[in-house]
Symmetry: C2
Subunit: 321 residues, 2 copies
Amino acid sequence: MRDKIVETLIAAVRLGKPRAIARLITLVENSEEAAKTAVFHLHPHTGRAHIIGITGSPGAGKSTLVNEIAKAARKQNDRVAIIAVDPTSPFTGGALLGDRVRMRELAGDKGVFIRSMASRGSLGGLSAAVTAVLTILDAANFDIILLETVGAGQAEVEIAAVAHTTLVVEAPGMGDDIQSIKAGILEIADILIVNKADRAGAARTTEQLRTMLRFGEQKAWPVPVLETIAVAPTAKTGVAQVMEKITAHHHHLQTTDEGAERAKTRIRWQVEQLLHRRLLKMSQRAEIEALWDGLITAVFHHQTDPYTAANQVFTKIIHEG
Amino acid sequence: MRDKIVETLIAAVRLGKPRAIARLITLVENSEEAAKTAVFHLHPHTGRAHIIGITGSPGAGKSTLVNEIAKAARKQNDRVAIIAVDPTSPFTGGALLGDRVRMRELAGDKGVFIRSMASRGSLGGLSAAVTAVLTILDAANFDIILLETVGAGQAEVEIAAVAHTTLVVEAPGMGDDIQSIKAGILEIADILIVNKADRAGAARTTEQLRTMLRFGEQKAWPVPVLETIAVAPTAKTGVAQVMEKITAHHHHLQTTDEGAERAKTRIRWQVEQLLHRRLLKMSQRAEIEALWDGLITAVFHHQTDPYTAANQVFTKIIHEG
């Protein structure tokens, strides 16, 4: 029954119908079977969209910058989808509120599709949903998909890394703290942006980031550090340069081996996430659940240890699988 | 051979010898077999330490506050271990630098053990190591273990949630951005701290956090919101109140069912992490690796889809397992 609905929606999605896209995304978020069916049918029609990941410190102004990028892309006549992901928030609060601001600016434009994903599922749950949603949007013929993550933890870094081009957005003065020098985040950046560049310390932050990048290996794509002021009421400084670099990076991926290499890394990550998800679901089946209770109590009372417990669950799964 | 070393170290760890503790932690970080052996032998001797997780936004001053808590705990004659975890950083930079500041303040005190874990391993890798390290420190008879995470993403939230008592540290002015209202983080807080309370906007941030907490359900433990100034040169404002609440929360856990319930949730999470780790390792075995290459290429060329690929790897693992 649900499969039937999914298949009907798929045809409409291929024609770019916004309501069908929205409905299919909802199905995919709530049902793994729906995600499986959608990806099975739509994966052959993907590979055209340019997926741009945007991550960085909270408060760096990512959403505002994403809106400006979307507006600039619309001026180039590109169809744009925006996905805002917050893996740490189980509630709707932040994501929905952010959406409302966004809707006000971009509403009514049929070339723009906006969606928030605020659910914090079990391990691998959100990432599986994100890749299914990207498949849907790619097959729906969007030219640009902006994948914005709210935080800057490992989950966000991984999600942003699903993109073809990854923008890391920072703001001045966040570098005061020794700890905020996040090597892991700089590592995934294809384009580094110092937003709120009218704030005190912008030049210093930019210089610091450039210095840190110089310590990295010489790459075929030298990561640019750009300054932007996304909220300026009159002029949106730097957004044009960001668009240029996005296009240049897209071209770089298409004209070198890097595009295919990255795609393969992404596929492996995606399949591994699905594997983990599968294991988690199997470990929650009734006959395994019965085992859990006894094992947890035994570990709690120090009668067994966690590794031995994990081993028993694993053996049972292999046996039942 | 390695097992022999681990077993020798275990005896010294039980006596609280700092060098044995440091060596065993290094072994456990680098070898899953060592972690398994250490946890197998030491898990029976755990359950005494009070594990305190500290998380929150970057730049909120977590490290400084952790140092103050450590000093206050030492005045109560508690033996203190500090573990600083940065799951997003594959390099040493931040963590090591932070350690040096810390060492200067707490060095030479034999009742303090300090360690950074900066490795970003594969999925579940770091969390498995963290729980093994907590087992070691608990069995080494530390009274208080301070588990500090650098970021505030999902991984950090999960790691902090391993603790008995979780402190979430924020700083004034970080609440400007709609997105920084992180429901997921407030959810795990047992004690909320507004650090840098001498900064502009502190009262507003405190009030906002109290309002947000009021929207939550009524709990047996009402989450307090405390203001601190951890870097004040003369007086460390608020640290005494934090210590009081930490003790009160510990008492709350021991006198209600919540302590046991949380411990069981923690055990389940821990065993699930080990399960995922196991699956990942199996998927990397030579006979499975051979399958990967072909499948990734097929997905890349749209000859198959990621779900079908995951299914094939899973079936192969079950078959070989």
